[in-house]
C-alpha cells in the first residue's frame, strides 16, 4: 500500500516531465525552449556559476526577512495572546496593516531603506509577520485553561510557563503560521528583486527575459520551484519532529 503510494508520487512527476520533454523538443517554439536545453542552462547557470552572485543574496534576504518575521510575530503574538485588553486594542490596527497590499510599500521601502538588501528584507518581513502573528495570538489565547490552572497550582514561574507550557501548547498554530509565511517569503523575495535590484534570482529572471535569454529565464523559474519544494520538505520534517506529540495525540483521539 505504502510502496504503491510512493510509486505514484514518484512516477507521476516523471511522466509529466517526460510529456513536457517530448512536447517541447519537437516544437521549435521561442517561448517554450526544449526542456533538455532548460536543464542544461540550469546546470550551467546555477551549478555553481551564479550561485554566489544571485542565489546566495536571495537566500540571505529570504532568511533574514523570515527570521525577523518569526521572532517579531511570535513575541508580539504571545504578548497579545495573553492580554485580552491589549489584544482588543491592537486588533483593528493589525487588521488594517495586514490589509495593505505589500507591493504598495515597495516605493516607500526603496525611498527610506535604499535599493540594497534592507528594503527587500523589510518587505519580506512585513508580509510574513502577519500569518505568524495572527496564528500565535490564536494559539496562545486558546491554550486550554485547565493546563494554565494546573501550571498555577504547581506554582510554575513565568518563564517556565512560557517556555514549557504556553509555547508548546500554541506550537501547532504557530507552525501553521510559519508554514504560510514560508511560501509568502519566497514570493516576496522574487517580487522585491524584480524592482530596483542588481542581483538575486528574481533579478536574474527579469534580466534574462529582457535580454531574450528565454532558456535562462526558465531555468530561474525552475530553480524557484525547486527551492520552494525543498523549503517545504525541510519545514515538514522539522514540524513532524517538534509536533510529534500533537500528531500522536490527534491520531490517538480518532
Amino acid at each position: 500500500m505504502n510502496a504503491k503510494k510512493l510509486a505514484l508520487e514518484i512516477v507521476t512527476p516523471l511522466l509529466v516531465i517526460a510529456l513536457i520533454w517530448w512536447w517541447t523538443s519537437g516544437a521549435e517554439s521561442y517561448y517554450y525552449p526544449p526542456l533538455g536545453d532548460i536543464f542544461r542552462a540550469f546546470a550551467d547557470t546555477w551549478v555553481f556559476e551564479r550561485f554566489s552572485a544571485d542565489v546566495l543574496p536571495s537566500l540571505g534576504r529570504l532568511a533574514a526577512g523570515y527570521v525577523i518575521a518569526a521572532v517579531l510575530g511570535i513575541a508580539l503574538g504571545v504578548v497579545l495572546g495573553r492580554q485580552p485588553t491589549l489584544r482588543r486594542m491592537a486588533t483593528p490596527i493589525v487588521e488594517f496593516l495586514r490589509a495593505i497590499p505589500a507591493p504598495a510599500l515597495i516605493p516607500f521601502a526603496i525611498l527610506v531603506l535604499g535599493v540594497e538588501n534592507d528594503a527587500k528584507i523589510f518587505l519580506i518581513a512585513v508580509v510574513c509577520v502577519f500569518p505568524i502573528l495572527l496564528n500565535t495570538i490564536d494559539g496562545v489565547a486558546g491554550v486550554e485553561p485547565t493546563l494554565l490552572d494546573t501550571t498555577r497550582v504547581y506554582r510554575i514561574g513565568r518563564l517556565d510557563r512560557l517556555r514549557y507550557v504556553v509555547l508548546p501548547a500554541a506550537a501547532p498554530q504557530i507552525f501553521a503560521g510559519l508554514r504560510t509565511s514560508l511560501s509568502l517569503s519566497l514570493i516576496l523575495m522574487v517580487i522585491s528583486e524584480m524592482v530596483a535590484s542588481s542581483n538575486g534570482i528574481g533579478y536574474f529572471i527579469l534580466q534574462s527575459q529582457r535580454s531574450f535569454a528565454i532558456t535562462e529565464m526558465w531555468s530561474g523559474i525552475l530553480l524557484l520551484g525547486l527551492l520552494g519544494y525543498l523549503f517545504n520538505a525541510v519545514f515538514t520534517l522539522v514540524e513532524r519532529r517538534v509536533l510529534a506529540w500533537h500528531i500522536g495525540a490527534r491520531a490517538g483521539a480518532q
Binding site: E144, T146, L147, D149, T150, R152, V153, Y154, R155, I156, G157, D160, Y164, V165, P168, A169, A171, W245, H246, G248, A249, G252, A253
Partner: protein, 261 residues
C-alpha cells in the same frame, strides 16, 4: 488546618451573574479525609478553585494553617476533574510528574521522587510514554502521581474518577486510600457519587442545590482499612449512604430549620 469561612462566589455581574456558591463554612483538620458531595452544577469545582487560590472569592475567606489563601499555596496540590486537559500532552509521563519539581532538589532527587510517585500509583515502567498513549484511568493515575510527587500537605481532588469505568474507579478509590495511609496526606475529595463519598471519607460535607450552602456535615465512623466488599456490606454503610442520599434529594425535610432565613 484548612478553614473556609462564609465563602461566596458569583461569576460575572449584573443580569448575567451566576451565584455559584452562596455561603459556605467548614473546616478540615490535618490528616482528615473529607468528601464533599453535592448535586451536579452546585459549585463544587468553583469551591475547589477558590480554596486553591485559583479564583478569588466574592466574599469570605479561605485560610490554610492560619494564613489567608490568595494564590495557590505551596502545601497544596489539586487533581482536576478533567485529567485529559490537565496533563501536558507534549511531555512524557515522567516529565509531567517532574515538571512541578523543577525548582526543587537535584536532578537525581527529582528522578527518585518521580519514580516513587509513579510506583505508588502502579505506573512504574510507563514514564517514557506520553499521556495520550494511556487509558483514561492511567492518565488520572499520572495526575495523582504528579500531585503526590509534589509532596503537598493537603491534596484536593475534583471528581477525579468521574469519567472512568466502574472497575477502574474501585481500584482508584482504593489507591487513594492507600496513598492517604502511606503518605499521611490530608485529602479533600469532591464527588457527586454518594457511595464513593461514604466509602472514602472520615467526614462528608453535603452541599445543597444552588444557591449553595452546607446542607449537613456527617461523620463516617466506619472502620479502616476499608474494603470494597466488606465495608459496603456493613449495615452502617447502607445507613450512612441512605442518609446522604436523603439529604441531597430532599434538602428541605432534613435541614429546613437551619436553612430558613
Amino acid at each position: 488546618m484548612l478553614r473556609v469561612d462564609h465563602l461566596s462566589k458569583t461569576y460575572g455581574s449584573g443580569a448575567t451573574a451566576t451565584q455559584a456558591i452562596k455561603d459556605l463554612s467548614f473546616e478540615i483538620q490535618a490528616g482528615e479525609f473529607v468528601c464533599i458531595v453535592g448535586p451536579s452544577g452546585c459549585g463544587k469545582t468553583t469551591l475547589l478553585k477558590t480554596m486553591s487560590g485559583l479564583l478569588e472569592p466574592t466574599s469570605g475567606t479561605v485560610e490554610l494553617g492560619g494564613k489567608r489563601v490568595t494564590g495557590p499555596p505551596e502545601q497544596m496540590a489539586l487533581v482536576f476533574q478533567d485529567y485529559s486537559r490537565s496533563l501536558y500532552p507534549w511531555m512524557t509521563v515522567a516529565a509531567n510528574v517532574e515538571f512541578p519539581l523543577r525548582k526543587r532538589g537535584s536532578k537525581t532527587e527529582r528522578r527518585g521522587a518521580v519514580a516513587q510517585a509513579l510506583e505508588s500509583v502502579g505506573l512504574d515502567g510507563f514514564g517514557d510514554k506520553y499521556p495520550w498513549q494511556l487509558s483514561g484511568g492511567m492518565q488520572q493515575r499520572v495526575a495523582i502521581a504528579r500531585g503526590l510527587a509534589y509532596r503537598p500537605e493537603i491534596l484536593l481532588m475534583d471528581e477525579p474518577f468521574a469519567s472512568v469505568d466502574a472497575q477502574t474507579r474501585a481500584d482508584l478509590e482504593d489507591l487513594v486510600l492507600k496513598i492517604r495511609h502511606d503518605y499521611g496526606v490530608t485529602i479533600l475529595f469532591v464527588t457527586h457519587d454518594i457511595d464513593e463519598s461514604v466509602y472514602l471519607a472520615d467526614r462528608v460535607v453535603i452541599l445543597s442545590q444552588r444557591p449553595t450552602v452546607v446542607q449537613e456535615t456527617l461523620d463516617v465512623p466506619l472502620p479502616r482499612p476499608r474494603d470494597q466488599v466488606a465495608t459496603k456490606e456493613l449495615p452502617e454503610f447502607a445507613h450512612l449512604r441512605a442518609h446522604v442520599y436523603r439529604a441531597i434529594k430532599r434538602p428541605d425535610s432534613v435541614a429546613a430549620p437551619a436553612g430558613v432565613a
